[in-house]
Symmetry: C2
Amino acid sequence: MVAARNKNAESERLKEVMEVITRKLHEAVKEIEPTQQEWFEAIMFLTKIGHMCDDWRQEFILLSDVLGVSMLVDAVNSRRPSGASENTVLGPFHVGDAPEYAMGHNICLDQKGEDMVVRGRVTDVDGNALEGVKIDVWQANDEGFYDVQQKGIQPDFNLRGVFRTGPDGRYWFRAVRPKHYSIPDDGPVGDLLNRLGRHPFRPAHLHYIVSKDGYDVLTTHIFDPEDKYLHSDSVFGVKEGLIAEFNCIDDPASSEQVGFDGPYWDVEFDFVLAPKEV
Amino acid sequence: MVAARNKNAESERLKEVMEVITRKLHEAVKEIEPTQQEWFEAIMFLTKIGHMCDDWRQEFILLSDVLGVSMLVDAVNSRRPSGASENTVLGPFHVGDAPEYAMGHNICLDQKGEDMVVRGRVTDVDGNALEGVKIDVWQANDEGFYDVQQKGIQPDFNLRGVFRTGPDGRYWFRAVRPKHYSIPDDGPVGDLLNRLGRHPFRPAHLHYIVSKDGYDVLTTHIFDPEDKYLHSDSVFGVKEGLIAEFNCIDDPASSEQVGFDGPYWDVEFDFVLAPKEV
């Protein structure tokens, strides 16, 4: 009945989207059978979320994240051939103008945390090394904060950088082992998680955007397998194929070779790019 | 997967509600397959709605209304035995402290509009007259505005009042024929209606809350059958059983009997109250 009103919509797509949304909303109401009071609580919950949003905080995205909707939207937009690396959520902490470094650079600018080497190889789905791949990485520090969350505490562009693969498709850089952190939980979405008995934490991870002309842009994370929140990521970003290995290297010769003074974490992770769909 | 996280929710009901909402949201995403851009437009639409809400404007209720959700919530909460009068939406313009009048009082306090007599009988489902029924009525004026929308233009409590039935179950009062009006359409919900090719109007109606101890509270409207928006109410409030008859009485003796100077509209509408469920 509602959808029939939309026959003069400005586009077929808008009509289609509103038909599905209206139908699913009505199905939800019929199944939940909310009381008037419950309906009003839902109205006020959405209103509070709206009032929490400003230029710096997007509480509706947070709601989409904790309900698994953001990951699902990513999934329907990132169908890849078998063997290609999987996407996960972009998250709110990417910046567009991180500096480009030579391979091996240490992106930790304040020497805080446990040293780490991250390395791997980028190939196409046939295993051929890809040259000139742009690898844009960023991560939280060992206290679970990004530089942009701690302006004046962390140096600008701490723990972020851009690298480009050579003919062998290999990349490597130095950083510190990242830590798990809480999504912003002082608003209505945090209240909801609390009422649902859910914690607000994301397991430790590094962010990547791996891109090269002619290939699907890969927006993903790699995860620390030992993190206690690995199987309960508050935004459902973890995929089995994105869990890395973190090996402790306690060998002075190896440390000297990579430019560290003592033991460090060695993380190896390869990426496989899918050809761009045309 | 998302719902499994909620096993420690503070209540079974919250768990159940969030399970349905999450499942329906995911079904909608799978069917719509939104692009990242479309998903972001949805986020920004909800954000704008939130920012439109304040103490005087509830844009999320408006969204619920124009998607037919408010009427559906009313329907699942108002299942009545056959023959009982049907509910419709309360709307935002009810006030709790309207004056109580003797039967026959004219609730039009500014003499503007076409004179109207409204009358009828309140019974139980067996047809027995109900005494002491509280009839709380309110309506827009002949320009489509409620008193509370035109403070200082219309007198306070214009076109609203409370009446109580006697032993015969009958009620009658005088007023003016109401006019259709637009829901507030200067916000994101109005923009949506516009993009969907839908108008924002509600057909002319009178509001009633009919109540007596021991019976289901009846919150409803009666509609003017000649209104051009009768079959396209922007909030889906019209039900066949709530369409009244408006008869023009052009007879000096009748006019004199009800206290008018000339022709007037005669509207007869009976209500049947359902016993309260215990």
